[in-house]
Every structure is written in structure tokens, then in C-alpha cells.
């Protein structure tokens, strides 16, 4: 309750942040609900190949004659989903890791931070590429077993590994905060009262960390979205005919050429993606200025 309230208080003060939050809400609802009212399906081909935006197709059509508005909204769905779940993965790992490291301290802390340092020096994106391509078929099999379509396997792997590459900063920051909070009288008092460590972590530390968690949440989402588009450009994105903003934009890169501009293929998905990233970043910055104790100090 508390973090959401904080969030609300901060955003309320700044009309610009309100606009950002509303914009994100709008994109999300269009992606979830609005997509059903475009009159087309995201994978329905037609003879209307590469049409300019018109009354029938507001965003134009792509090579296969699919409606770009529908595909952009569908891409929003996948991109937001990958980013959200990836962020959740990174958050869970980062917060747990950072809290344990900071709370236990001493030798354990030392080793855990060394591990973070080591992972920092790994070429994570290259490893993600190798991982995604080598595990794809196994995951497809697993998905089939639980009754999901197999072509979501890339997406599941992207959730997992993009999340796995992003938790390091979070872990470091959380650890730093926990180190400070640990010395606070209320924690010492709880310890003296004989409360269990888990309880202290959960009931006393976590609520105090929520502000910083929200801040880094809004900053991790854009970086995962960018990584996802980077992987799509390299051909390791979600499987066709699914689409994400990353795949749509990288499919459209060809349209920047001196012969003929298929501008709508780049401008609409790319513009929406950039605006979303901007809004998330503005929101994250605004929240950080207001909530992050390190900035506030």
C-alpha cells in the first residue's frame, strides 16, 4: 500500500508526470483492449501489401499486407509483456540478492558482491543469444506439455534471460540501502525483541525499500525493451508471426533508403516505442528525484 501511495503523491505534484503516467496507461489499454477494435487480426494477410496510411489502414500495411495499426498494438502487447515480466524477474532476483547480501554482511556479503562483479564482466547479451538459440526447442516442448503454443518459447526465454541480465544494479543498490537501514534503531530494536530475520527483512526492511524499488522498476523496463529490440535486430527476437516493437522496428530499418521511403513502417512502431521509453524514463527520473534517498540527501 505504502509504495503505491508514495508513487501517487509524487506523481500528483507534477502535471508532466501525470501526463506520462496517463500516456503509459493509454498505450497499455490500447494494447490490451483497443487491439480488438481495429477490424483486423495481427496475422491476417491480404493483397494490400505495403499500403500508405489511409482511412482503411490508419498506420498503413506491411509486406504481407497486414494492418500495421493492429500489429503495432500487438507489438506493444508483447514488448510490454516481455519488459514487465523481465523486470519482475530481475526485481525478484535483485531485491532478494541485495537484501541477503546487505543484511547478512561480512564474508557472505563480500563473496556475493564479488559474484556480481564477475557477472558484470560477462558479455551478457552474447550469452543470451547463445542461450536463447540453444534452449528454444526444449522450452517449446515444455510449453506444449502445459498446453501453450510452442512458438511462445522465444518469448519465455527472453523474459527469463533479459531479466537475468538486469538484476545486478538493483542488487547493488538494495544492498547499499540495507547496509544503512540495518544500523537504524528500529531494526536493532526488532532484533533485540527476538524477531526472526525473515520477519525483519519482510516487515521492516522491504517497506522501506519500496520507493527505490519502484524507481528502478521504471528504469529497468526501458532498458529491457531496448535490449529486446537489439536482439530482434540481430534475429533472436520473438518468433514470426508474433511481433514486438523490436521486431517491427528492425523489419522497417530497410525503409530508410535513398530509393523509396516506406516511412510508416518505421515511424509508427518506432515512434510509439520511443514515446513509451521516454515516458517511462521521465517517470523514473521524476520518481527518483523525489524518492531515492541517495539523490534526496
Amino acid at each position: 500500500m505504502k509504495p503505491l501511495h508514495q508513487f501517487y503523491l509524487v506523481v500528483k505534484r507534477d502535471t508532466f508526470l501525470v501526463a506520462c503516467a496517463l500516456f503509459l496507461l493509454l498505450v497499455a489499454s490500447l494494447a490490451i483492449v483497443g487491439i480488438h477494435y481495429t477490424g483486423y487480426s495481427y496475422n491476417e494477410i491480404s493483397d494490400a501489401s505495403l499500403l500508405e496510411p489511409s482511412h482503411a489502414h490508419w498506420f498503413g500495411t506491411d509486406v504481407n499486407g497486414r494492418d500495421l495499426l493492429t500489429r503495432t498494438l500487438f507489438g506493444a502487447r508483447i514488448s510490454l509483456l516481455v519488459a514487465a515480466v523481465g523486470t519482475l524477474v530481475s526485481l525478484t532476483i535483485g531485491v532478494t540478492y541485495g537484501m541477503i547480501s546487505g543484511y547478512v554482511g561480512g564474508r557472505v556479503d563480500n563473496i556475493m558482491m564479488r559474484v556480481v562483479e564477475i557477472i558484470y564482466s560477462l558479455p551478457t547479451l552474447v550469452l543470451v543469444i547463445v542461450m536463447v538459440t540453444s534452449l528454444e526447442d526444449h522450452v517449446a516442448g515444455l510449453l506444449k506439455n502445459v498446453g501453450l503454443p510452442g512458438n511462445y518459447s522465444r518469448m519465455v526465454l527472453l523474459f527469463l534471460f533479459l531479466g537475468l541480465t538486469q538484476w545486478l544494479t538493483m542488487a547493488r543498490i538494495i544492498r547499499g540501502q540495507v547496509l544503512v537501514l540495518k544500523q537504524q534503531p528500529f531494526v536493532q530494536a526488532s532484533l533485540a525483541l527476538g524477531q526472526s530475520h525473515a520477519r525483519i527483512l519482510w516487515q521492516h526492511l522491504l517497506p522501506n525499500l519500496s520507493g527505490i524499488i519502484i524507481v528502478y522498476l521504471t528504469l529497468t523496463i526501458p532498458s529491457i525493451m531496448l535490449d529486446e529490440s537489439f536482439l530482434s535486430f540481430l534475429g533472436v527476437g520473438v518468433q514470426a508471426p508474433l511481433a514486438s516493437w523490436g521486431t517491427l522496428v528492425s523489419d522497417a530499418v530497410f525503409s530508410i533508403n535513398p530509393i523509396k521511403l516506406y516511412w510508416w513502417m518505421l515511424i509508427f512502431p518506432g515512434g510509439l516505442m520511443t514515446l513509451t521509453l521516454l515516458a517511462l524514463n521521465f517517470l523514473g527520473d521524476g520518481l527518483r528525484d523525489a524518492l531515492d534517498p541517495r539523490v534526496r540527501k
Binding site: 491476417e44 509486406v63 504481407n64 512458438n151 534475429g235 518468433q239 514470426a240 530497410f254 533508403n257 535513398p258
Partner: protein, 543 residues
């Protein structure tokens, strides 16, 4: 006061001096390590596709490597600009009446680039090297046409003197084949059968293909080679005829957009590889004066895995083939003017009439599918369409999936795009239901397409096999009469694309290149898509 003034003056110098120093260091660094070369300007610049894997003619398999190798090396025969076979290192040859023995006479003026005489022994020893299993040449099977060639190539025979190639003297090479091979003189113009300078191979080991070490016998010699940067070749003064263009620079840019931008800004004279042209731009390029397209011997087709349900049923295979609106695919997706393919062998083989094949017929397709037990696509099992996730691969696959849904009501076909290497592996293991494949002919004869599908053939990859088909291939190989042989090949292809349908042809590829006709001569469209650089000339500059 004084000190502060001088210190200010000193400080005012600090910035420019440090900038100049940094710039100097930077330029020095760039000169030393950045590969800033000051090589002589080239007369002609070619975008040749990706960086070549190797320039060893016995090893390379790709078209882009082959082109450079054939500029550096020359076989017994070569090709003119039209793609016809003409004498190369051999000035003439005699074919025995049974079509089994070829006697080549090496031209007396044939020389290596270092001035050494080139002899029949060079061919003999180079072919031994190509066939030798320790060389591990992927294309050594190009020499399996020779008597005992396969046995030596697979290591079953250790004595090379039993292989069907002999050099009675330094000007004569006698080759004996296992069966009459109409296209053998095409093979001898191919890079795999080119001679290499074995003394330098021995001396430098695997480094023999590097500039300064490589000795070659073709129209050009290798001057410089920087990985992913450029390759520079220069006319070989010891080549048996004059070479019109003196110095050619080859850019191994693998990014089509970068290639096209280079061409558009006139930084390169010729884009020779169709993979270097952005596919999405092709329709807009087609009416430009610098766009050149020619049909060439390659086909895109779908492989069915006949060992898996539901493709064990020929009616299902036929239904899917008939429902494929191929015109839609070539006009909407590939868009380079590819002809629709209803059969496998591309048009252009002399004396060959291909069968009709299955053309687009959705009503018949629906009927067959219903007959097979899936009316309106109901109950059709979950299957996956395998494709390579590069170029227009995903778009073609998307289109096919949608076409089958539209025409047949099948909704259970899932796309399975894989990276190139994984795709090849999956295809090789026949671990697919449906697979979008392609085949580029090795030579201009229907056989290069039809012999893939013999039972358990290494490139069959459908699980399909037919006794009668195998027998017919054997018969065709022993018939010296070309017309009768072509008839048998026609009947074979009929089995393949009309009766049994383990594959569904989609379209024939076209070769594409970009150049201004006023800036390049000696480049003519030909069916084998083989353009020898020794034939190139710059109009108005022809010596």
C-alpha cells in the same frame, strides 16, 4: 598580478596544445593499428557479398568464394561472358566415342604467376590433394565422376594411381569417367578442379593462400587481403591472354544496406551478389538502368517429411502443393520477378522439357484434403513449418502459413524459424514436418536437381524413396544418347512433382546485379550465374 597573468596565458595554451597532442596521438594510433592503408587506387570495385571463408579453390563451396577463386585460378576449361565453356588451361581436348575418356592438351604457354611452367602434373597432383580425405574438401565429390574417385575420396582406396586420371607427359592429361557425363567440361571449369601450386602449399601450409605467398594461374593474382575490409587483386602478367581491367578491389560487406549505399554513392562499381541487394528494395530498383536480372539454376521448394503424419499421405502433400498461390508469394514477398515454379528443374537446360507439375488449384486441393480425412482443415494435426530466419525467410513462411489457412482452413501449422546453422542441422536430421528449402544447381543439367532424391540420398532429406526412380536414374547415366537420357529425366521429374510429391516447388530464383552498363562490359546474364572477371572490361578503355 604578474604570475596570475602568466598562469592565465599558460592556461590558455593548455587547451589547444592538449587537443593537438591528442589529435596527433590519435592519428598515429590510427595509422599504426587502425588499418589505414594507402594502397594504390583500384580501377574497379566490386561488392562481392560476405567475407570469403577461404580462397583455396579445392576447399571453398560458396558462390562468393568461387567467384574470387575463379579470378585467381583457372581450370582446364573456363567460361566466356555468355557462360559458354571455352578452353582454359587446356587448349584442346578429345572425347572418346563412348563418352568415358577425355584427353586434354595443356596449352604450352600456360604458366603460374611466378613464371613457372604449368603442366599436366600440376592438375594430377592438385586433384589428388582435393580428393585426399585429409584435405577434407566438402566438394571433393565433384571428382567422384572419375573411375575410383569415390573410393579414394572416402579413404577406401589408398593408391592414387588407380584413380581415373593420368599424365603421360607434361602436356597431356587423360581422364577416365565411371559413366558418360554430359556436363564434365562444365565441372572442369569449376574451382574445385582448378590446379594449385603445390610447392607453396607445402612450404607455407595453411598460410599459402595469403597475399605475397599465393601463386596462382588465373587472370588475377592476390595482392592484399584484410579480413572484412577488402581484397585487392591485380592482373596476372603471366596469364595466357591479356586481362582488360588491371586492378580490382573486392569489398566483403555483408550488410545489404551498406552495399547499396556504397553503390548509390558511386563508391563501388558492381554489386555482383544478390544477397547484397536489400530484398525490400528490389521492386523499386527493377526499372533502374543499373538493375540487371537473369534467371539462373536455382529453385525454392518445400520439403515434406513423408515419414510423419499427415504427410505420409500423398493426398495431403498434393493438397498443400495445389493450395499454394505461388504468384502471390513472388509478387508480394520476393518481388524480383521470379518465375513461379511448378516443377523442380529450372528452365534453361538444353534439350530438356520439364513436366507440367501441380499449379495453383484450390478447389482440387480442398477436395484432396477432404478425401484424406481433413475436410476444411478440420482435425489436421499440429505441424511445424521450418524455415531459415534470414532475408525474406520469415515473410515467405508467414505468407505460406496464411495461404494454407485461407485456402484449406488449416490453422494448426506453426512457424519454426531457426538461425541458418541450426536450420541446416535440423533439415539434415529430417527433424521437421515441412521445410522451406532451396537448391542451387552445380552445373547446367537436370541431373544436379534430380539425383538428390534417390532413396536415402544425402540431400534427399524427405524420407521419400522410390525404387523405380532409382532405377531410372541408373539407366539414364549409362545412356550416351542425350535425347533419350532427357526423356528418362523428364519421367523421373514427373514422379517427383506430379505423382508422389515429396516436394512442392515454389519459385525459380533470379540472379541480380547492379552496375551501370556504360561502366562495365563483358558481364552478360547467363544461366549459370557465372561471371568470370577476366572477361570484364571498362567500355571505352578496352585495350
Amino acid at each position: 598580478m604578474n604570475t596570475s597573468l602568466s598562469s592565465r596565458r599558460r592556461r590558455s595554451l593548455v587547451l589547444p596544445v592538449s587537443i593537438a597532442g591528442a589529435a596527433f596521438l590519435f592519428i598515429a594510433f590510427f595509422y599504426l593499428f587502425g588499418g589505414w592503408t594507402l594502397s594504390a587506387p583500384a580501377d574497379f570495385i566490386i561488392c562481392n557479398g560476405d567475407e570469403p571463408q577461404s580462397l583455396d579453390p579445392a576447399i571453398v563451396t560458396g558462390q562468393l568464394e568461387g567467384r574470387i577463386c575463379l579470378a585467381l585460378f583457372e581450370g582446364l576449361t573456363t567460361r566466356n561472358a555468355k557462360g559458354d565453356i571455352i578452353p582454359g588451361m587446356a587448349e584442346s581436348w578429345i572425347i572418346s566415342p563412348d563418352g568415358l575418356t577425355y584427353t586434354f592438351t595443356i596449352r604450352p604457354e600456360a604458366k603460374w604467376s611466378n613464371g613457372e611452367k604449368l603442366t599436366a602434373y600440376d592438375f594430377l597432383n592438385s586433384w589428388e590433394r582435393t580428393l585426399n580425405p585429409t584435405t577434407a574438401s566438402d566438394y571433393s565429390y565433384q571428382l567422384y565422376y572419375l573411375v575410383n574417385g569415390e573410393a579414394y575420396g572416402t579413404g577406401k582406396l589408398k593408391d592414387f594411381s588407380k584413380v581415373g586420371v593420368k599424365a603421360p607427359d607434361e602436356h597431356t592429361l587423360v581422364v577416365t569417367l565411371t559413366h558418360p557425363t554430359a556436363y564434365f567440361l562444365e565441372l572442369t571449369s569449376f574451382q574445385t578442379l582448378c590446379p594449385v601450386h603445390l610447392a607453396s602449399v607445402k612450404k607455407y601450409g595453411s598460410n599459402w593462400i595469403k597475399p605475397g605467398k599465393m601463386i596462382s594461374n588465373g587472370p588475377y593474382v592476390l595482392k592484399e587481403w584484410r579480413l572484412n575490409d577488402y581484397i585487392l587483386v591485380e592482373a596476372n602478367p603471366n596469364y595466357w591472354r591479356p586481362v582488360p581491367i588491371h586492378r580490382i578491389k573486392i569489398l566483403p560487406t555483408n550488410n545489404p544496406t551498406a552495399c547499396f549505399n556504397l553503390f548509390y554513392s558511386k563508391k563501388t562499381d558492381l554489386i555482383i551478389d544478390k544477397t547484397s541487394i536489400p530484398p525490400s528494395l528490389v521492386p523499386d530498383l527493377r526499372d533502374k538502368p543499373y538493375f540487371h536480372a537473369n534467371p539462373f539454376g536455382a529453385t525454392s521448394f518445400i520439403r515434406f517429411n513423408v515419414k510423419r503424419k499427415p504427410f505420409d499421405d500423398v493426398r495431403v502433400r498434393k493438397a498443400l502443393a495445389l493450395a499454394l498461390d505461388k504468384k502471390d508469394i513472388v509478387e508480394k514477398i520476393t518481388r524480383a520477378g521470379e518465375p513461379v515454379a511448378n516443377n523442380l528443374v529450372p528452365p534453361g537446360s538444353v534439350g530438356y522439357t520439364p513436366p507440367q507439375g501441380l499449379s495453383y488449384n484450390p478447389d482440387e486441393a480442398r477436395r484432396l484434403l477432404a478425401e484424406a480425412g481433413y475436410p476444411g482443415g478440420k482435425g489436421f494435426p499440429d505441424v511445424k513449418l521450418l524455415y531459415a530466419g534470414r532475408g525474406s525467410g520469415p515473410q515467405v513462411a508467414t505468407e505460406m502459413q496464411a495461404l494454407w489457412r485461407r485456402e484449406l482452413g488449416i490453422t494448426s501449422i506453426e512457424l519454426r524459424g531457426q538461425e541458418w546453422k541450426v536450420y541446416l542441422n535440423t533439415q539434415q536430421l529430417i527433424d521437421f514436418d515441412l521445410c522451406i528449402s532451396a537448391w542451387v544447381g552445380d552445373y547446367n543439367d537436370p541431373q544436379t536437381f534430380l539425383d538428390m532424391f534417390i532413396t536415402d540420398g544425402g540431400n534427399n532429406l524427405t524420407g521419400w524413396g522410390n525404387r523405380q526412380y532409382d532405377e531410372m536414374l541408373k539407366t539414364s547415366e549409362s545412356i550416351p544418347d542425350p535425347a533419350r537420357r532427357m526423356n528418362i529425366l523428364h519421367d523421373m521429374e514427373k514422379i517427383l512433382v506430379e505423382d508422389e510429391v515429396p516436394i512442392a516447388p515454389v519459385y525459380f530464383y533470379v540472379g541480380m546485379s547492379l552496375y551501370y552498363p556504360e561502366k562495365l562490359g563483358g558481364f552478360e546474364p547467363n544461366f549459370v550465374d557465372d561471371h568470370r572477371w577476366g572477361e570484364f572490361y571498362i567500355p571505352g578503355k578496352k585495350p
